[in-house]
């Protein structure tokens, strides 16, 4: 058994879901996503036992493109994140009715397929194909099942699509250029071995940066984000914020830094600065938001800015913190958006000023929401604390001011998140009644919270998994 099994399960799952009809679709999708998760856990065990679970075989002869999937610790960690979140996301949607559910759930599984492929691909072109494939399903999910005014939604989604496509086409050009240098090979090992001049590296770095900065998003390429998060159905928002933007962050570590290390070192301050700018900008804008989903979108912008800054430090701590925080943020943001969805199901509004007084009616929901809010502001004991603290530590090694400015994410984050919590959950009782969480909703929250707390106290398994592969990448970065 190797990693392609996961991809096959997800792809078959996508088609099976589509053909199972509207009534069964959600259950079939859940079943297949759980199967994929189970498969990945088995593979993880094999990997830890030292079994080779990578695949490589030729696909296209001229130019030479290989079907190469490489599973190392970093890739597996991201795959596990994807596959753990997918069933949660699917399960969380059980309370909603979707028109044409078979296409909806089929697209979700197809997107999981493409994202898993992105995290595993070890051939530049294969990686690019998966990267682009992930874009198609989310486009349709946001367009067809989104909420709000149709015209505005259309604008937001098209802007998102053209933005991301534009970025990735520059990346494609960079890949073609690199393969010319590597005698026509797109394999990641061959690209790592390249000795490029610093001028070449600068342009390659920039081309990659366009693709990733738009996806992550890093300031000033973030303008698509808040609107799409708000307009997309919550499932789409979860997929985008929980997994898809991690594709960008992961790619920075996997592709951008090792291929163009000289440029990364030379312009270190600029790129860390952009990440930090995202932190401050996102936090300040989040303070002013009235829409719950938009607030979460901007807080997400702040958090990923910090993660990006961490990866651009080019230190082991920075990379490790970035990966840990990616995983932690993936879980917490899915939980928070789900909480917003739970509120929307009952009150049919996301406007913070119209909410309030939920605590007295729904104590269970309130406590779960509180844990998620505290996790998102990196309270010690949660997984986010581990990630965020490691990143801030690595920033302080570069320059103490970066750490201080980056630290505002915690201070400002605490301020706007707790203020939001106060407005939404406490205060005067809203005239409408708020039923407490149902069993289904409770299970989703419980799983997320369990993960956040478990790794908050005991992050060693993940650290052990990712550290060797991050060290390998750092060796490539520091080879000359």
């Amino acid at each position: 058994m190797n990693v392609s099994t996961i991809l096959i399960i997800l792809l078959i799952g996508a088609f099976a879901t589509y053909f199972s009809g509207d009534k069964l679709a959600s259950k079939v999708a859940l079943l297949f996503s759980l199967a994929a998760l189970g498969c990945s856990v088995v593979l993880l065990n094999n990997y830890n036992a030292g079994v080779n679970i990578s695949v490589i075989c030729n696909w296209i002869t001229q130019p030479k493109i290989a079907f190469a999937l490489n599973a190392d610790g970093l890739g597996l960690a991201m795959v596990l994140l994807t596959l753990a979140l997918t069933p949660i996301i699917i399960f969380s949607s059980f309370g909603n009715e979707y028109k044409n559910a078979k296409s909806f759930y089929g697209l979700i599984l197809f997107m999981a397929f493409a994202m898993t492929g992105t995290f595993l691909a070890a051939d530049g072109l294969l990686y690019y194909i998966f990267w682009e494939l992930a874009l198609i399903p989310i486009y349709f999910i946001a367009l067809i099942w989104g909420n709000g005014d149709a015209d505005e939604r259309r604008k937001a989604v098209v802007k998102f699509f053209i933005y991301t496509l534009a970025g990735s086409l520059f990346m494609l050009t960079a890949f073609i250029y690199l393969s010319q240098k590597a005698n026509g090979s797109f394999l990641i090992e061959d690209l790592y071995k390249l000795e490029l001049s610093s001028c070449e590296q600068f342009w390659i770095f920039l081309a990659f940066f366009f693709a990733y900065a738009i996806k992550i998003p890093i300031i000033p390429f973030h303008t698509w984000q808040a609107n799409v998060y708000q307009k997309a159905p919550t499932v789409g928002t979860m997929l985008l914020s929980g997994i898809m933007l991690k594709m960008g962050l992961y790619s920075v570590i996997r592709w951008q830094l090792p291929i163009a290390p000289l440029a990364a070192k030379e312009y270190l301050y600029i790129f860390i600065g952009l990440g930090i700018a995202g932190v401050i900008y996102g936090s300040i804008v989040a303070l002013r938001q009235k829409d719950l989903k938009k607030l979460l979108a901007y807080s997400s912008l702040a958090h990923v800015g910090l993660i990006a800054a961490g990866s651009y430090t080019l230190t082991l701590d920075g990379l490790r913190g970035a990966v840990l925080q990616m995983i932690a943020h993936g879980f917490v943001v899915v939980g928070l958006f789900y909480a917003a969805e739970v509120i929307f199901r009952r009150f049919e509004t996301r406007n913070i000023s119209e909410l309030g007084g939920i605590r007295t009616q729904a104590p269970k929901f309130t406590s779960m929401f509180l844990i998620l809010v505290l996790a998102s502001v990196a309270l010690p004991g949660t997984f986010n604390f581990v990630g965020e603290f490691t990143v801030l530590y690595s920033l302080s090694q570069i320059n103490i001011w970066f750490a201080i400015l980056g630290g505002t994410t915690i201070i400002l984050g605490a301020y706007y998140m707790l203020r939001m919590f106060q407005h939404v959950m406490l205060g005067e009782t809203n005239s409408k009644t708020f039923a407490d969480v149902t069993l289904n909703e409770g299970i989703s929250f419980a799983v997320i919270i369990a993960v956040l707390l478990f790794f908050g106290f005991y992050s060693k398994p993940i650290t052990d998994l990712i550290t060797p592969s991050l060290e390998t990448i750092l060796n490539v970065i520091n080879k000359n």
Binding site: Q62, S103, I129, F161, T173
Partner: protein, 463 residues
């Protein structure tokens, strides 16, 4: 050669069917006949022979492209059944003309003599003039036919003039002889001038900027099926022929000898950039889908012209690109034919809500547009990838960057149509599920995806 004879024979049969009053069977019969031709063509693949004093030379290039043409014609003939439902009495004429057009197309890629080349062009063009004007009670169709005829014959004249100059310089119409002479050190200036005139004429047929002005009007005015034919088959034929002409006459080495290669490359780069940019920017503003695809075709012509920068190595890439483009085009047009049947125009409003009323066809149209926009896993993506790869190898990175920017622009108008299908409310229900249209749409998009999954199948054919 056998292919050409078989095609012509099939065309004559089609005419005979009219006399024998066997109209009902004509579409299946022709499709079967064309499948036979395809098999014959596969059988011929790999052989290199010449017939009738080098008038026709069969090569890998000619058989590979002929197979593509035959496949496209099969699709177009299959679509005819539904399209000409209201013109039952004329159906055999229309189909026979399409078959003769195919004969012209095959002659154009397998010529061994410039006389045969010109004959092929004229057979193809005259068939197209007739088809453009074939809706004889429709003013727009008449206008399209007339416009196309006037402009097309002008271009043919220029080509003929160019051939005369080449003959004056080389003393021969024979491709092999000309290609040998063209490598000699001392060449009369008439040879490059003649080649330029022929190229201009062919660029007109391809509809590359600045020779594109006829295309939007003619595409819009012609009956939809003819537009499908022009934007897929005719365009592919013209670009393959020009490619064969430039590579077959050894134009590139000859220009290199004369130190004019740089000028030639600059011209190709400029025309290619102009075609894709103008085509894309004009397409953004169109509301008529046929017109939009006409402009998109102009921009694709610009992409295809990029292969001319690496003539020696890019025959396979050109074959792949044209196959990907034409298959996507056929899939798109079969949906357009279905949607716009019995409508007075092909405006984008007709497509509103197709995603709800007919999810299958909407998905197919989406797929074909994504392929044209160059999104993986559709073959359009790989076509662009191989093209860019080839062009960067030749050192034209600026051209590739412009092409990339154009790919981004093109998403704008392709997605306009996708948005209309999925995010607008349907305005009317369409009934009936014409089997052949569905079959053509499904088969062509499937072929497109198969090409995307296994690009080597086609790409390595011409190596």
């Amino acid at each position: 050669m056998n292919t050409l004879i078989a095609i012509t024979g099939l065309g004559v049969f089609c005419l005979l069917f009219e006399i024998l009053n066997f109209r009902k069977g004509i579409v299946p019969f022709t499709i079967l006949g064309l499948l036979g031709v395809l098999a014959l063509n596969f059988y011929e693949f790999g052989s290199t022979e010449s017939y009738y004093y080098n008038m026709i030379t069969v090569s890998k290039f000619s058989t590979a492209f002929s197979s593509l043409f035959v496949i496209l014609t099969i699709f177009l003939v299959a679509l005819s059944h539904n399209f000409y439902e209201n013109h039952q009495t004329k159906i055999s004429d229309f189909i026979a003309i399409k078959i003769f057009l195919l004969a012209g197309a095959v002659a154009m890629v397998s010529f061994g003599n410039l006389a045969m080349f010109f004959l092929g062009i004229e057979i193809l063009s005259i068939a197209l003039y007739v088809l453009a004007a074939s809706e004889r009670l429709n003013l727009k169709s008449n206008e399209a036919g007339m416009k196309y005829f006037l402009m097309g014959s002008f271009a043919s004249g220029i080509i003929l003039f160019g051939i005369c100059l080449i003959y004056g310089a080389m003393g021969s119409f024979d491709v092999v002889e000309i290609s040998e002479f063209s490598l000699s050190a001392e060449l009369p200036i008439w040879f490059p001038i003649g080649m330029i005139l022929v190229t201009i004429g062919m660029l007109f047929k391809i509809a590359a900027v600045p020779f594109h002005f006829w295309a939007p009007d003619v595409y819009e005015g012609s009956p939809a099926l003819t537009t499908a034919l022009m934007s897929t088959l005719a365009k592919v034929v013209a670009i393959a022929t020009l490619f064969k002409l430039i590579s077959g006459l050894n134009l590139i080495p000859s220009l290199e000898n004369q130190d004019h290669l740089h000028t030639f490359e600059n011209i190709i780069v400029i025309i290619s950039i102009a075609s894709m940019t103008v085509g894309n920017i004009m397409a953004l503003r169109q509301v008529n889908v046929k017109r939009m695809l006409a402009f998109s075709g102009i921009s694709h012509a610009g992409f295809m012209l990029m292969t001319f920068l690496t003539v020696a190595a890019s025959a396979g890439v050109l074959l792949y690109y044209t196959a990907a483009y034409a298959l996507a085009g056929i899939a798109a047009f079969s949906v357009i034919l279905y949607v716009c049947k019995n409508q007075h125009n092909e405006d984008i409003t007709n497509f509103h809500g197709l995603g709800k009323t007919n999810p299958l066809l909407a998905a197919i149209l989406t797929g074909s547009l994504l392929s044209m926009a160059g999104i993986p896993i559709f073959s359009g993506f790989f076509a662009k990838l191989f093209l860019f790869n080839q062009t960067i190898q030749a050192g034209h990175i600026i051209l590739v960057i412009v092409a990339v920017i154009n790919s981004i622009i093109s998403v704008g108008y392709y997605f306009k149509l996708i948005l209309a299908m999925y995010s607008k409310e349907p305005n009317e229900e369409r009934t009936g599920k014409p089997f052949l249209i569905y079959a053509v749409a499904v088969v062509s998009i499937t072929l497109n995806i198969v090409l995307g999954l296994f690009p080597s199948l086609v790409l390595d054919l011409l190596n």
